[in-house]
Structure formats: C-alpha cells, structure tokens
C-alpha cells in the first residue's frame, strides 16, 4: 500500500511539475511564468541605470547619461567603443525586439512560434532574404572599417546577453518560453534586408501582367498610367537633365510569357502605405537664416517602436537621432554640422522572369538559346516541436526561382525567378556611419554614393547653409516598359542591361525655390531620361507640402511642426465637391440628409473631434470597393487601380463601363454609385452610433499601436486620439503612421525636436514603454537634449559607466 501511495504521489508530482513547466499552445509555462523569482514578476521594474558595467573588449571608459525620456547620451573615446556601447545599450533596452526582427527577416519564426509560422518562413526564404543578407555581409566585409564596427556592435550585444540571467530575460521570452541567442554580424545584414523588404519589396508585375491580358493596352494605360495628370515630383520639373549623356537601352519586342505556368497567389507584400515625408528649407526661407530640416517616416505602428533614440559621441563627432535596433549609427538625425532624413523612393527594383527548365530535375534552364546550369540552395527551416523542413530553392542568374511546383505553382518544368536589387548586396551600413561623421555637403555625397537599397530620398541640410535631396539607390537602367510586366527569363534582352550611373540619380542642391521635399511621390517628370513609371507613387501629401512651402516666404519651427501634423484631406477635397454637384439626393431620408449636410459643411480637415472624416472614410471605402467590383470576381491576381486614377475616372469618365456593378442587371454610372454607397454609409454609421456612440473621427478610426507579437492586446495601446488618415501629411491611419517625427534647425549646434509613438524601453512593465504616445498623438514634441559638454548634467537623471 505504501509503495502504491508513494508511486501515486510521485506520479502526481511529475504531472504537476511538467504541467507547470511546459508551454501549452499559446499558454505560457504557468509555474515558470508566474513564479516571483523567475517569472514575469521579475520584469516589473525600470532599468537599473546607475551601475558601472564591465564590458570585455572596450579600449576606454564609455560614459552613458540618461535624460528623463530614458534617451542615452553616449560618450566614447573612439568609434569602436562607441558602436560596442551602442550594441550593448540597444540590447539592454530592446533585446527581444532586436532579436525577433532578425528572426522575422531571415524566415526563422517557426523556431519560436512553431508550425503556424512555416508559410511565412518559407516565403521569406524564397524571397531570398538570407541570400541577400549574405551578399550584403560580403560587401560589408570588404570594408575593414565597417567590418570592425559591426563586429564591435555584435560584441556589445553579446556582452549584454552573456551577463543576463534567465530571470532577467525580457517578458516576451518568458511568455513564449525560449532564450536569446548570440548576435552575429549577419544579423545586422538581415536587419538591413528587413528594411529593404519593407521599403523596396513591393511590386505588382504579375498583377499588371494579368490586368494587361484582361484589358488590352489602351484600356490598361488609362487605368494604370505611367504618370498621373498631376505631378509635383520630388526633383522639381524645372531641372535641366542635359548633363545626362548616355545612350538608353532599347526596348526589345516584348511578349508576355505567361502561358505554361500559373500561380495560385503571390507572396505577401509590404504595407502599401510604407512611406514618409521629409523636407528642408534654405536659410533664405527660414525665419532665423538657418536651414531647417524635417523627417517623419510612416511605418506600421508597433510596440516596441521600430526606433530607439540615442546620442552617439566621440571626440571627433557627435550625433543625435533615431537608430534602428540592429543597425549602427543614427539613421534619421543630425550631428554638429549636418542633418539628414529619409523617405522611401518607391522605385521598381524587383522584376520577375518566367523560367523554363529542361526537365524535371531542374538542373538546367533556358537562356540565350542554350541550356544553362541552375544552382540549388537548401534552406533549413527549424520548427518548434516539429521536424526540420528542408526547402530546396533553385537559383538562376536572375535570382531565386521563388515560385515553382513546390510553392504556389503548377508546373514542374517552369517557374518564376525574382531579380531584386536587394539580392545584390551592398555596404549600406557605411552610408549611415559616414553621415554620423559628416561635416558638409561633400561628406554627405561621399556617404551616399555607395548606397544601394532600399532606395531613399535622402534630405540634407548643413550649418554651412546648404540644403539638398538625392534620390539614392542602385537602379537598373531599364528600357521603356521593362519590368512593368512579367519578363521572359530565356531572352537575354530582358535581363537587366546596366545600372543608372550614380551621378545621374535625380537630385537637387540649393534649388532656387528655396526648399527640397519628398513624400514618396513620383521622383521626376517625363523629362528625366531614364525609365521611371508610376509604381504606386503618392499623390496627395506631396502637393499639400509643396503648396505650403510655395505659399509664403519665411518658415519657423512651429510651421514645420504644424505641417507634420497637418490633417488637410486633399483627396476628399478633390472628389466630394464633384459628388455633391452630381449626386441625386431626392430619394434621401431625413436622417440621410442630416448626414449629407454634415459632410457638406466639412472643411476637409480630418480632425479627431469631427464627424465628417468618419463619413468620408466609410463612404470612400465603399465607393472604392464597389467601383472595382470586377476585380473581386477575378480568379487571377490583379491589383486595383490607384486611388488617384479612380477619382480621375469618376470625374472624367463617369459613364465608363467600370462603374457598372457586375452583379446587377442595371447599367450603373458614377452617379448611381455615389448614391448607393452614401445610403450604405448612412446605414452603417447609424448602426455604429447605436452600438458605440458618437462616430467622431478619433473613435471611428480607432488608431492602435500593436505589440510586435500579432498586436497582443495586453502589450498594445488602443484608441489613440490622432487625426489624419493615410493621405494626409500627418499620415496616421488605423495602425500605420508617422513612426518618428523630427524637426532640426541648423543653428550651431543644431536644435532638434522629436517624438515617436512608443517609448525607449522595450519592457511592457516599464513606464518608459509607451510614454511618448500621448504627446505624439497630440502633436507635441520633445526638445531634444543635444549634449555638447558631458559635464553639464542638468537634465540627466542617471549616469552609467561602461568600463573595459
């Protein structure tokens, strides 16, 4: 009996132990997770800031001063120590995010999340993310200086990881029950690839090919024009391009080779609204005579924030601004001499080639009338609680055959290969390291010239009084039409022939108009000799910005802040008056008439307390959906025409066949659609009101900032009261928007203002996790503390010394 009892209690003990020590589905290992000595309770604290830390490999002491926003001001004696400290401090405040983003970049999420992430991981491998990162790392290794810094950064991150005890792991590790691994230089390359994918990873070649097949050329060109009828390009129309004197590649006859291979769906694309604003005014246009520069990158709104703000100083240079966890130096910021910021250049740098294999072994593919050898890359995808998956990806000289019969395709002897500037690799880390050290326009230009991807509009201003904007990236010099559609992988004339020489990239220095600006609009007009077609260029923010700077002679800091927070809805203002003039309102009920009256009185500012922006949002969404109803009925992948062109069609071709709703026998026109969708809007909003109360814009839009783990509600912020939508300068939509706002006046030293929707700490248990959000939403800025003398500690709350 006693043995039986012993056995029984032993069994019970084991069951309880494993039950409380193991993760079940999304439930964390509950004993481990809740224990006060090891679990999440240990994360209930702010960082320990005042200690002295010993870090192996430092040459000299590094001083770190924290201000009351938890922004570290780092003073090192040399660059190697500086970047080692940057790695250490980034890990200290953002370790989980730092690592998680590179797992996402490299298609390794299955290791953390299990089977559910497998499709995502395969897609990222087949996109060539690791291939591109490896190529980038090779390029960085060619430059001993860059290499030594990314190694120092790596060692800094690892110094932090190595002294970390399991009870100190960020709470996300405890929740998902895993441990951090060592940082590598390849992870820095992966982080840069992650940004390249986010910003230069969008294309619609397949979708356009399908649309062309459906519509024919004339109709296609009407719906998807290379240039819209309005264009206020990044580099102004007055630019003289006569210095560009090379012969352009000639367009071969283009046959779209889609017949023998089709795919069920395309791989995921980055968020279409990833974009940004930047601008600078010259001294003549500035209230103080010093140039002023601004930048606000628009990205998905996440916690922990994608940005981490730092000051990085050595005796030789001193810079301040937003860093990306995983990359070195300041990405958007300023030093004592220059300031810089980026917006996405949105150019077509991905093309797809139809590949024909000789046989099922896929060892050879057709190119230039011969059979050429393929190579294989075997991607090992480890899966938590599952068997490792090995995915063989065929490579041609174009790039990886992303789609084949193993992945979304239907023919063992064919596939689609991806050619992407992101695969070529480049030492893009160098550019930012050099910006940090830059003193003038020449230094900025030198930093830029080697930069390949993601192509950016780099705005610049200096204390010397120069302003400039270069559209920099490695751009294939395409023949007219190349890569707009699917290309023939066997035809050498369809290969990328050459790249646009760097000095011919569109740019502007100290233009007569006294300002430079970019907002992801068309980089140039038709006079630029290289082929640049409309690849989803922005059509509203840029015009509001440029009109703003044309409207008066002098601008001050408040003007800049106001513009970044400007909610003027140009899009609505271009369609609504037309609708009001043409919609038949005779059948409207009294309730509907009230709603119509509200939107008719709207001044087109999408402010949080207004009701009209909610009406507009609801109405426009329905209108855009119904007008392109024929797309939803399509079985092949097609992308709906851009917003600007849709509005153009409403106003210029209101009786076009596309206005017809295919499900109804009646032949609808634009007028019918306006009325129909308005009635639906009124109905929706009335119901919404009954359920949630007043539908003012803030409540209706319900902007949220989601935690990186699928917006885990406990760690996210909801119902953030911010105006604007994705077409206003303050491009804040539901979960996307200005991820860092910065304004810098080029005084000596420069005076900066900045804010971002998050906080410096990655720990959801810290009061610094999300403490900037309310000010960000309200359009307030921090006066950035740009320390010149580290003995002057009047705004410093804690100091830490890192010792060798």
């Amino acid at each position: 009996m006693k043995y039986f009892k012993l056995l029984l209690t032993l069994l019970l003990t084991l069951v309880v132990f494993f039950g409380l020590n193991s993760k079940f589905g999304s439930i964390p290992p509950i004993g481990k997770f809740l224990s006060p000595n090891q679990g999440f309770w240990q994360n209930e604290n702010d960082e320990n800031l005042s200690t002295t830390m010993q870090i192996n490999g430092l040459k000299n002491k590094v001083s770190v001063h924290y201000d009351n926003a938890l922004i570290p001001h780092v003073f090192a004696k040399n660059n190697t120590d500086l970047y080692r400290a940057q790695g250490y401090l980034t890990a200290k405040h953002r370790l989980w995010q730092l690592e998680f983003q590179t797992f996402a970049a490299g298609g390794r999420l299955s290791e953390i999340l299990g089977e559910q992430a497998l499709d995502y991981d395969r897609q990222e491998r087949r996109r060539g993310m690791l291939f591109g990162a490896e190529n980038a790392l090779l390029k960085m290794q060619e430059d001993p200086e860059t290499l030594s810094y990314i190694e120092a950064y790596r060692d800094g991150v690892n110094s932090y990881i190595h002294q970390l005890q399991p009870k100190e792991y960020p709470v996300e590790y405890k929740l998902l029950d895993y441990a951090p691994e060592a940082w590598t230089t390849k992870k820095t390359a992966l982080l840069l690839m992650y940004m390249t994918k986010m910003l230069a990873g969008r294309e619609s070649d397949m979708e356009r090919t399908n649309a062309l097949a459906k519509y024919g050329k004339d109709r296609f060109d009407l719906l998807y024009p290379d240039f819209f009828d309005v264009n206020d390009p990044v580099i102004s129309k007055e630019t003289d391009w006569s210095f560009i004197d090379i012969t352009m590649p000639e367009a071969p006859e283009q046959k779209i080779p889609i017949d023998s291979f089709s795919i069920s769906e395309t791989i995921n694309k980055p968020h279409p609204q990833n974009g940004s604003n930047n601008w600078a005014v010259s001294g003549e246009k500035s209230y103080s005579g010093h140039p002023i520069l601004a930048n606000d990158p628009h990205l998905s709104l996440n916690l922990p924030s994608i940005w981490f703000v730092m000051q990085l100083a050595t005796p030789e240079h001193n810079s301040y601004g937003a860093t990306l966890p995983g990359a070195l130096g300041i990405i958007s910021g300023y030093n004592n001499h220059i300031s810089w910021g980026e917006t996405n250049a949105t150019r077509d740098v991905i093309d797809w080639y139809k590949i024909e294999f000789k046989d099922n072994s896929r060892k050879e593919y057709k190119h230039d009338g011969q059979w050429k050898k393929t190579t294989q890359r075997i991607e090992e995808i480890k899966i938590r609680n599952g068997a490792t998956l090995y995915d063989t990806i065929i490579y041609t000289h174009h790039g990886p055959v992303t789609y084949d019969h193993n992945f979304k395709g239907n023919n063992a002897k064919a596939g689609f290969a991806m050619q992407w500037v992101g695969h070529i690799g480049g030492n893009n880390q160098r550019t930012f390291l050099k910006f940090n050290e830059g003193k003038n326009y020449e230094d900025y230009l030198d930093a830029l010239k080697s930069y390949t991807a993601p192509a950016q509009n780099f705005v610049f201003a200096s204390t010397e009084g120069d302003i400039a904007l270069w559209i920099q990236g490695q751009f294939p010099n395409k023949w007219k039409g190349q890569g707009k559609f699917l290309l023939d992988g066997s035809n050498p004339k369809h290969d990328w022939q050459s790249f646009i020489p760097q000095e011919f990239n569109a740019h502007s220095k100290n233009p007569e108009r006294g300002f430079v600006s970019s907002a992801n609009q068309h980089p140039v007009d038709t006079s630029y000799p290289f082929y640049v077609f409309n690849d989803g260029y922005e059509t509203y923010r840029n015009r509001v910005i440029n009109d703003f700077f044309r409207a008066k002679d002098k601008f001050d800091i408040q003007d800049f802040k106001n513009l970044q927070n400007n909610n003027y809805n140009l899009k609505a203002s271009e369609l609504l008056p037309y609708i009001f003039a043409n919609m038949d309102t005779s059948s409207l009920s009294n309730e509907e008439k009230e709603i119509l009256k509200t939107i008719k009185m709207w001044d087109f500012y999408s402010e949080i307390d207004q009701i009209a922006p909610s009406i507009w949002e609801s109405w426009w969404t329905k209108l855009y959906t119904i007008v392109w109803d024929e797309y939803d009925a399509e079985s092949v992948a097609m992308e709906k025409p851009f917003v600007y062109q849709t509005i153009y069609m409403f106003k210029n071709n209101p009786k076009d066949e596309l206005m017809d709703i295919i499900d109804t026998p009646k032949k609808e026109t634009a007028k019918d659609l306006f009325l129909m969708t308005f009635k639906e809007t009124a109905k929706e909003l009335t119901e919404w009101k009954a359920k949630h109360g007043d539908y003012n814009w803030s409540a209706y839009k319900a902007t949220f900032i989601g935690h990186l783990l699928q917006a885990l509600p406990a760690f996210s912020r909801f119902d953030v009261p911010i105006g604007g939508d994705y077409n206003t300068v303050n491009a804040a939509s539901k979960n996307h928007g200005p991820s860092w706002r910065m304004v810098v006046e080029m005084t000596t030293p420069p005076t900066g203002y900045g804010i971002y929707p998050g906080g410096q700490s990655g720990n959801p248990g810290s009061k610094y996790y999300d403490n900037f959000i309310d000010d960000w939403a309200a359009g307030k800025y921090m006066n950035l503390l740009f320390m010149q003398d580290q003995q002057d500690k009047k705004e410093i709350i804690a100091s830490q010394t890192l010792t060798p």
């Binding site: 006693k2 004993g31 248990g765 810290s766």
Partner: protein, 117 residues
C-alpha cells in the same frame, strides 16, 4: 498544532532560501523537504505548505510589483485573462505556487513514511 507551525515555518524559510538558488520549482523542493523532516497528518500534509508558499509567492510578487505601480501585473492580468485585475493575478500566482508546494509535500510525506518503517 505545534507541528503545523514548525512545518509552516520550515517550508517558508526553505522556500525563501531556495528561491534565490533554484528556478520556480524551489517551492516543490521546499514542500518536499519540510514534509520529509516534519511530516504532518491528513489534509495538513498538503495545506500547511500550500498556505506557506501561497503567502510567500503573493508577498514576494506584491513587493516586486508594488514598487512599479503594478504596470506589468495589470497587463499580464489582461493577457491570461483575468480581467486586468492584478489582485486576482496575485491570488492565482499564490495558488499555483501553493499547489506545487503541497504536491511536493505529499511526495515528501510518502518518502518519510517509507524511511520510518
């Protein structure tokens, strides 16, 4: 009653010491050891260590969380989900620790029975 008190104090002291050395299952070891040396009878075998660790984990968690205004506890109480109540989360924490300690004690008791005979 005296035995109960001795077991209670032993469990508590062991749990506090072992919490600095072992992972979360220090409470199972504490329950096991105290039952091995100061074994109790009937339901007290389970409940005395349960109460000791229940109180220990709640107090320990409370001290950690209180200095930080329960910022994280409130969020974890949404995640688990406990309606955002950090008090409920403290009780659940104590309960889990208590069960682990109690079960460890049951095993300790059986071992002590075996040793004595």
């Amino acid at each position: 009653m005296k035995k109960n008190l001795i077991n209670f104090i032993t469990t508590l002291v062991l749990a506090i010491i072992l919490s600095q050395l072992l992972p979360w299952w220090h409470v199972m070891v504490a329950g096991f050891l105290s039952a091995l040396f100061f074994s109790l009878n009937r339901t007290a075998v389970f409940f005395i260590p349960f109460i000791a660790v229940f109180l220990f984990w709640i107090s320990y968690s409370f001290v950690l969380s209180n200095t930080n205004d329960f910022i994280l506890a409130k969020k974890i109480a949404i995640l688990l989900p406990l309606g955002g109540s950090s008090i409920l989360l403290l009780i659940v924490t104590g309960f889990i620790g208590g069960i682990a300690a109690g079960v460890g004690a049951l095993l300790g008791k059986q071992c002590s029975v075996l040793v004595k005979h």
